[in-house]
């Protein structure tokens, strides 16, 4: 699972509607894997990404490359886009877990695959 995907996820346990994002990554094993850069995608992503959550998540993983705030010219700032690309698209979470800051539900990541299934009573 790439870091960009983590930025899309929220806790979806029934009734857990507030403070359910971002899920807190714990006991994480990371892996870097090169990927082709797609500027259009990154620009589109800038409109969707929760940047503060991304930066905070990265800091906890000792990834310190991203500026604390998005550059004003982010969409056409090559240097920034390259960092962003490396962080959100080339950084994979191979294993670990994601914990909801609100209800503490644990979502396990194994072999790079998050299991987001809930028990029946949680749906």
């Amino acid at each position: 699972m790439r870091l960009i995907t983590h930025n899309m996820l929220q806790c979806h346990v029934k009734g857990c509607n507030a403070n359910n994002f971002p899920l807190e990554l714990q006991e994480v094993v990371l892996e870097q894997e090169e990927a082709e850069m797609n500027e259009d995608f990154l620009r589109n992503m800038l409109t969707k990404i929760e940047y503060d959550a991304l930066v905070a998540t990265c800091l906890k993983l000792d990834i310190n490359d991203l500026p604390a705030t998005i550059p004003a010219d982010a969409a056409y700032n090559d240097e920034f886009l390259q960092i962003l690309h490396r962080v959100i698209l080339e950084t994979h979470i191979k294993s670990g877990k994601m914990v909801c800051p609100n209800c503490q539900h644990n979502y396990i990541i194994r072999d790079g695959i998050p299991n987001m299934l809930l028990a029946e009573h949680e749906v």
Binding site: M1, R2, I4, T5, M8, L9, Q10, C11, H12, F21, E36, N38, E39, D40, F41, L42, R43, N44, M45, K48, E50, Y107, D111, G112, I113, P114, N115, M116, L117, L118, E120, V123
Partner: protein, 366 residues
């Protein structure tokens, strides 16, 4: 109901099982089936349907999409200028998807784990028909709409009741069991052991075999191997299928198509001799292992060869058969469900490869 149908023939689904919740039914008749047949199933899914391919290829560069019920992820790589995330209930299918390098996760279609309005588009191909009630089918559509932004488009495919190609379904019976036969062993045994199998159309076999080897259906190998049997694939759903009804049996006999290596041939044979073997115990555990009847079919095929042409002797020696639940959509039904959500308009709709499909545009988010 289906007492006269041999085990392999699609049968009417008994909706009336008060002791089971909808979740339990879907677990038993859908989720656990896909878990069990994942590698084989995956090997038969490699060729993109044209409508889906077109939809994906016309998306603007850089768009972000969700494939809800992505299976082995065959659509995720269709347009590499997009970023797509796949999800499925089956962890076995998701493993295959992930091994192919796609973003993939395990989750339920009624409780997607994504932030609302995140995606520019979504697809749900051959998924909604597995939900067991109208309410759940609408809820599934609503959940997909939730994660797509206003103005975003969603492509949905569901199996059609009116299909006339490989099989005729009883137009009165929308809720059915469709068998999937695992033909693994047969292949191997056939090859190595005894008799020659008329090569007829044994795509599934070839595919499967490869797939087997790769354990999880390496896309390349499987794809290649399967290259020849591609069409079969489209009718994929058809692979093991046929009609639900009894009168359909007659029609089957007349069928010309050989594409369905698994179901059809067997059905023919079985319709004649399997009556006894096993009543469709549609309610028992999901994986029905109907070794007996399969065997019978095989034997017959090999020895008698009643109709060489449409009798692909594909029948597997001891192939487990799994019944999957389907709700077959009649014309206009999918659109009705979409409009019930009150959150989307229908941009385009059509019929293709035994499926009704429509493209919706999200009009509002509440």
């Amino acid at each position: 109901m289906t007492t006269k149908n041999p085990l392999h023939i699609p049968s009417a689904f008994q909706a009336d099982q008060p002791d089971m919740t909808p979740e339990e039914k879907e677990q038993q008749y859908v989720h656990s089936v896909y878990q069990a047949i994942a590698p084989h199933f995956s090997a038969t899914r490699y060729k993109p349907w044209p409508v889906v391919e077109e939809f994906l290829k016309t998306m603007p560069v850089g768009y972000v999409g969700a494939d809800v019920g992505c299976g082995n992820g065959k659509y995720i790589g269709v347009n590499d200028k997009l970023f797509m995330v796949g999800s499925d209930r089956s962890s076995n299918l998701i493993s295959i998807c992930s091994e192919r390098g796609h973003e993939a996760m395990v989750c339920d279609g009624l409780a997607l784990p994504y932030r609302s309005q995140f995606f520019d588009f979504a697809i749900s191909i051959a998924v909604i028909h597995h939900f067991i009630s109208p309410e759940r089918r609408v809820a599934a559509i609503e959940e997909i709409l939730r994660i797509v932004r206003v103005g975003g488009r969603v492509l949905i495919f569901v199996w059609a009741l009116e299909q006339t190609g490989k099989r005729d379904f009883d137009k009165e019976t929308q809720d059915v069991f469709v068998p999937w036969a695992l033909a693994k062993k047969p292949i191997e045994s056939k090859k190595s052991s005894e008799t020659k199998k008329p090569k007829a159309n044994s795509r599934p076999q070839g595919v499967k075999k490869k797939d087997r080897k790769n354990k999880n259906g390496d896309s390349l190998a499987a794809g290649q191997a399967a290259a020849e049997q591609d069409e079969a694939k489209d009718n994929e759903e058809s692979a093991a299928v046929v009609s639900v009804v009894t009168d359909a049996l007659n029609k089957l006999t007349v069928q010309e198509d050989h594409t369905d290596s698994q179901g059809i041939s067997r059905i023919k044979d079985n319709s004649l001799q399997d009556q006894s073997s096993t009543a469709t115990d549609s309610h028992s555990s999901s994986p029905h292992t109907s070794t007996a009847s399969s065997t019978t079919a095989t034997a017959t095929t090999d020895s008698n060869q009643p109709n060489p042409e449409d009798t692909p002797p594909t029948a597997e020696a001891a192939a487990p058969v799994y019944n999957r639940y389907y709700h077959l959509f009649h014309k206009g039904e999918l659109e009705d469900l979409v409009l019930q959500t009150n959150k989307a308009s229908i941009v385009q709709q059509g019929y293709d490869r035994d499926n009704w499909w429509c493209i919706l545009e999200k009009t509002r988010h509440e």
